[in-house]
C-alpha cells in the first residue's frame, strides 16, 4: 500500500495493465452484476443496433478501475468512487489504469482525492474517474 509521504499533490500512481479483455470477461461480469443487456454478448443484437460487434459493459471497466484503486489503497478505505464513460471498450482491448493525487486532507483522518483514468492501449480514454480514499 502507498505511504502518506508518497502521496503529495500531483504524485502519480503506478499504472497497471488489464486484459486483453475477452467476450467471456464481459459475460462473466454480466453474470456477477445482473446487467444482462444483450448488446454486450449477442452479436446479432449488437449489429441490429448499429455496432460491429458486442462491446464491454461500462461498469466492467469501472469495476476494474475499482480493483486497481483498492489494490493500492485497501478495500475498506474507499469513501467516494465516481466514473464517467467515454470511449467504448471492445474484445481484444488492453486497458491501462492510472491515476494521480488531486488533493489531500489531514483534518481528523488522512484522505486523498484522486483523478483516475482507464485508457485503451490502442485507443483513447475509456473512463475518467475520481475517488477519495482514507490513508492510514
Amino acid at each position: 500500500m502507498i505511504a502518506w509521504e508518497d502521496l503529495g499533490v500531483g504524485a502519480t500512481l503506478p499504472a497497471r495493465e488489464y486484459g486483453p479483455l475477452t467476450l467471456t470477461d464481459f459475460v462473466r461480469y454480466q453474470g456477477a452484476s445482473g446487467d444482462f443487456n444483450p448488446i454486450h454478448h449477442d452479436t446479432a443484437f449488437a449489429r441490429a443496433a448499429g455496432f460491429p460487434e458486442p462491446f464491454s459493459v461500462g461498469m466492467l471497466q469501472a469495476g476494474i478501475l475499482g480493483s486497481y484503486a483498492t489494490d493500492l489503497f485497501g478495500a475498506a478505505h474507499v469513501r467516494r468512487f465516481a466514473v464517467s464513460f467515454r470511449e467504448q471498450v471492445w474484445a481484444g482491448d488492453v486497458l491501462i489504469c492510472s491515476g494521480e493525487v488531486l488533493d489531500r486532507h489531514e483534518d481528523g483522518e488522512r484522505r486523498v482525492d484522486l483523478r483516475l483514468e482507464v485508457r485503451r492501449r490502442d485507443g483513447g480514454t475509456a473512463i475518467r474517474g475520481e475517488a477519495t480514499f482514507v490513508v492510514e
Binding site: 456477477a32 465516481a82 464517467s84
Partner: protein
C-alpha cells in the same frame, strides 16, 4: 420521450442482503485478486458492487418505468458511489430506495438534443443510518448511439 414530470418520483424501495459469495464473484469478475475481498470472512464490498442491486429490485417496478426512456437510445453516462465510512460488509442488510433527482436537456456535440436523467439511490442499514449513496447519470440520445459514444 422522457417524461420530465418524473422528477422527484421514487420507487417503493426494497431490502438487499450483502453476501460474501456475491462479493467474491464480483471481485473476480472485475479482475481483483485482493485478499480483502477473496479471503476475509466478512469482506467489504468493492467500490462499484452496489450495481448488483439490480438482482434485488423487481423488474419493471423501478423508478425508470416512470421516466419512460427509450432503451434503444439509452446510454450510461456516469456513476458515482459515496460511502459514509467503510463500505458495508458481508452480512449487512441494506434498505434501498431510488428517486429521480433531476431531468434536463443539453444540445449534443454532434447535433440533436440529449436528455439527462439523474437518479440517486440511498442505502441504509437496519438502524436507518445512511451507509452509501449511488448517483447515476442516464442519457437518452437524439438517435441510436454510434461508436465512440459513452457505453
Amino acid at each position: 420521450m422522457v417524461d420530465r414530470s418524473a422528477i422527484g418520483a421514487t420507487d417503493d424501495g426494497y431490502t438487499m442482503e450483502v453476501e460474501r459469495g456475491k462479493i467474491r464473484e464480483f471481485a473476480r469478475a472485475t479482475q481483483s485478486a485482493n485478499p480483502d475481498y477473496l479471503d476475509a470472512p466478512a469482506p467489504v464490498i468493492p467500490p462499484t458492487f452496489l450495481t448488483t442491486q439490480q438482482f434485488w429490485s423487481t423488474p419493471g417496478a423501478g423508478v425508470f418505468s416512470k421516466v419512460r426512456m427509450d432503451r434503444k437510445r439509452l446510454l450510461h453516462g456516469g456513476q458515482e458511489y459515496v460511502f459514509h465510512g467503510p463500505p458495508p460488509a458481508a452480512g449487512t442488510r441494506l434498505h434501498v430506495r431510488t428517486r429521480v433527482e433531476d431531468i434536463y436537456e443539453k444540445e449534443g456535440s454532434r447535433g440533436g438534443t440529449m436528455t439527462f436523467v439523474i437518479s440517486v439511490t440511498e442505502f441504509r442499514d437496519d438502524e436507518g443510518r445512511l451507509v452509501a449513496e449511488a448517483r447515476s447519470t442516464a442519457i437518452e440520445t437524439a438517435r441510436p448511439p454510434v461508436e465512440g459514444g459513452a457505453s
